[in-house]
Amino acid sequence: MTKPVVSRESFSARIWRKTLAGVGVKFGLIWIALLIFCAVFAPFLANSMPLLMSKDGVISAPVLEYLSVEDAWILTSFFIALAVYRLKIDGGKQILWFLLGSALAALLVNSFVKPPVLVIYDDFRSAAYTQVDWKIMPPIPYAPVDYLRDLGSKGLEAPFATDGHTHLMGTEENGADVLSRMIHACRISLSIGLIASGIALAIGIVVGGLMGYFSGIVDMLGMRLVEIFEDIPTLFLLLTFVAFFGRSLYMMMVIIGVTGWSGYARYVRQEFLKLRKQDYVQAAVASGLPLTSILFRHMLPNGVAPLLVAVSFGVAGAILSEATLSFLGLGVVDAPSWGAMLDQAVKSSTFNWWMAVFPGGSIFMTVFAYNLIGEAFRDAIDPRLSDKAGIKS
């Protein structure tokens, strides 16, 4: 009489499939993948030193010699991530393995990688590196902080407008190659979004979960805390924190995270309040399952979907926050960042289109990509479409 349609697909798999069905989201994912690629392989894509060269018969790889601790760590972590993904370990453990692996990598890298403290980029264009048998240069032969002193770059040269050396995207105010900085800045843009949102998410889930599950007085106090962080304009809090605690990149991530959790907490709370009344949660309680299992196994996974939507927008927001901070003069100093570059463009009173178009465009694309993913995700978990999955809204 009833012919059950057997689609042997888990709820999350279905959401993923539906999410991925859109066109926009594919574009978004491709863009993000491109960013990840750039972030991981930045030193090999844009650098002043040869990738490989042979001088007097001796073959050396200067890029590796000059590989910074950070570069090395990111590379190893990336490959660990690949390996873990390939190994098909079960969901939760994958993350654990990855974290363990990259922590180990951090330790090893810190103790073994010892690049020179001072890098004089001009030297790579001197005889020691030019009079060689052969050499392979990275596709963009300029490091992001190579200000081309020896080439007498005065900065702000339009793309291709330069004599002798080509800069595909021109140079920025200090004379560095824009494309090179763009590539290296992928790291900041990716990490600031992910880490900041990660921090915010962690705080939000804990606070919101406790509020939602226990309600009552916990809820009441928690809500006040949420309101506090909500009512002060985030940017203002950011400004205050950055102004007062300095402006390192990590600080910035922490700060964007610490100030951005209130929205997530609200979401989680709302979901948990709703879920608490769901029969299957009641059944779990009736079965005498421990609280952690109820909270994290039965409630969180069911409440997490709308949260993920919020996160994808949060990641996008964090990237914009970084740009805004740069605009207010609180960005990072020397490190390449899109926000700082865009800031140069909007602050300068002459309109250097390449300084606005490339970094501005990348910020736009990245934010847009995250938004597209978020949007697709939101449509995928739309309650009207997923009523059959057990969460009624």
Binding site: P4, N302, K392
Partner: protein, 587 residues
């Protein structure tokens, strides 16, 4: 039937959904004479609503198509009308009432406005005063008390039954020739349902309109219909005069449906449940009895009177003797929900959901808990399981006091008692495999030495529930409602509890599925010597299933006794009223 007001000929309605096309209505023909009622019955999804919506042309434009057929209202083919034309028919000649009185009224418009809107739409020359007057009259007609003062009320200020009356008033305001009612009482309490049905019959008598009445309850059919059409998978498998069809169903499907009605179910003859532990030999007898059961069922469907004899078998002698300590002992249980108001949310009053209830349930007994909606049935069940902290009173299971225990102290005791929920949608965690749902509690309570063993146990459990073992590796959304309900039951039984609360586990299901589950329950009871607190509002189910019946009214138990006695000769006036409201399939 030259007198026919509405004549549907060879109607087909196809709906596009996803990639494919659903033949929701597949070549049906019927006609409704003036002043008479045509009832459409059939299981969920059989195409009743789509047929009705096709008649009034309310199906979404882009999705539906009518490859063939005509719908003649007074000889005019509705399918050929343009938008303008059909709008003139809607409300004026054909009106419709929907199932959900809660959501079918616009929440931000007063009920008066909504009715006058309909009036003025079809009588553009009617001025406000007259419209108001007519509206109030319409409200009075449907017996809304103080109609003139309620004119300005918003839907949320009315009870469910009143809202449905407003819907009827709205539908009748323009005195349509045909009223389509799509399960107008399904969402209502039996008592309210009885009133509404009575009202509708009266109005029909007064106005002489015709009705297309959709329901899945044969009891209602028996009360309302002049004509009956039985639908199955988009087809009208049987059409005829009401009495003829109910008494002498021709089509096997109609027969099966009628047989599944609890009143018509044959109660399997069972030996006293408490005697011995079921021995392995039982397994064989089970499959035997199953076969027997099925054959009895089919035959019983034709006779319909088997029930009487079977319930006689339910003599008190078959029950455990009363001096044994009861498995569950409830004393003066109160569950009061504070109503908080004012500046500091101080408690100003209580909703006395359960108020001084005392109840004993001996081992192995099935106790039915009945009562109207909101009388506190669920709350009582949840309180017994300590899902709702009782305000006062004591609950003992096996002599062990439950109230006042901490969550940790309670945990080992949870093994003994479990609960199964009404809503098959939300009672299973959609993110967990059936396997996890079943084995996780086992693990916590130390059942089964290792995971393999637990999976084996879970598999067995599912087989008991007549589900395949492979179901373990599926997610809840891959099952139908009835299957999910069985998994929910399996979860409750996974811990091998002595006592299970079943909270309206069948009310979301079709009759035929309901019948399966009920038989399953009896079977399990027989094999496991299970004690059940069966919460329901369906008297038919009560009579079929339970040994003893407890009637609740406004948080208190008003009557309690053997089912045969309570249902046969109710003492308390409330119980009498409740029972008389139940639409019976008396043919």
């Amino acid at each position: 039937m030259s007198q026919a007001l509405l004549e549907v000929r060879n109607l087909r309605t196809y709906l596009r959904s996803g990639g494919g096309e659903v033949r929701a209505v597949d070549d049906i023909s019927f006609s409704i004479p003036k002043g008479e009622t045509f009832c459409l019955v059939g299981e969920s999804g059989s195409g009743k609503s789509v047929s009705a919506l096709s008649v009034i042309r309310l199906l979404p434009d882009g999705v539906s198509s009518h490859p063939s057929g005509e719908i003649l209202l007074n000889g005019q083919d509705l399918l050929k009308l343009d938008d303008q034309g059909i709008r003139a028919v809607r409300g004026l000649k054909i009106a419709m009432i929907f199932q959900e009185p809660m959501t079918s009224l616009n929440p931000v418009m007063s009920i008066g406005e909504q009715i006058t809107e309909a009036l003025q739409l079809h009588h553009p020359d009617m001025d406000d005063a007259e419209a108001t007057e007519r509206t109030i009259k319409a409200l009075e007609q449907v017996q809304i008390p103080n109609a003139s003062s309620r004119f300005r009320d918003y839907p949320h200020q009315l009870s469910g039954g009143q809202r449905q009356r407003v819907m009827i008033a709205m539908a009748l305001a323009c005195e349509p020739h045909l009223l389509i009612a799509d399960e107008p009482t399904t969402a209502l309490d039996v008592t309210v349902q009885a009133e509404i049905l009575r009202l509708m019959r009266k109005l029909q008598d007064d106005t002489g309109m015709s009705m297309l009445f959709i329901t899945h309850d044969f009891g209602v059919v028996a009360q309302m219909a002049h004509w009956v059409g039985v639908m199955q998978q988009g087809k009208l498998v049987e059409v005829g005069a009401c009495k003829a069809v109910l008494r002498n169903p021709q089509h096997p499907y109609t027969q099966k449906l009628l047989a599944s009605v609890p009143e018509n179910l044959a109660k399997p003859v069972v030996e006293p449940p408490h005697t011995e532990d079921p021995d392995p030999a039982d397994d064989e007898s089970l499959s035997d009895s199953d076969k027997k059961l099925l054959s009895v069922l089919t035959r019983a469907g034709l006779r319909g009177q088997a029930k009487q004899t079977v319930s006689l078998a339910n003599t008190p002698g078959a029950l455990p003797s009363a001096d044994d300590q009861p498995l569950l002992q409830i004393r003066d249980l109160k569950v009061w929900f504070p109503i908080k108001k004012g500046l500091f949310r101080q408690t100003v009053d209580y909703v006395k959901a359960v108020d001084e209830v005392s109840l004993d349930i001996p081992q192995g007994e099935i106790v039915a808990l009945v009562g109207e909606s909101g009388c506190g049935k669920t709350t009582l069940g949840r309180a017994v399981l300590q899902l709702e902290p009782p305000t006062a009173g004591s609950i003992r299971i096996d002599g062990q006091e439950l109230t006042g225990l901490s969550a940790r102290e309670l945990r080992p005791l949870r093994r003994k008692m479990q609960i199964a929920f009404q809503d098959p949608q939300s009672s299973l965690n959609p993110r967990l495999l059936v396997e996890t749902t079943l084995t996780e509690p086992m693990k916590v309570h130390g059942i089964g030495a290792n995971q393999e063993e637990r999976i084996e146990l879970a598999g067995q459990l599912l087989e008991d529930m007549q589900l395949s073992r492979e179901s373990l590796w599926r997610y809840p959304h891959e099952f139908s409602g009835g299957q999910r309900q069985r998994i929910g039951l399996a979860r409750a039984l996974a811990l091998n509890p002595e006592f299970v609360v079943c909270d309206e586990i069948t009310s979301a299901l079709d009759v035929s599925v309901q019948a399966e589950i009920l038989q399953l329950l009896l079977d399990i009871r027989r094999r496991r010597n299970l004690t059940l607190l069966f919460i329901t509002h369906n008297i038919g189910v009560v009579e079929y299933l339970s040994d003893r019946t407890v009637v609740m009214y406004k948080g208190k138990i008003v009557e309690e006794g053997l089912t045969a006695k309570v249902c046969g000769a109710p003492e308390h006036p409330y119980t009498q009223r409740l029972l008389s409201a139940v639409p019976r399939l008396v043919v």
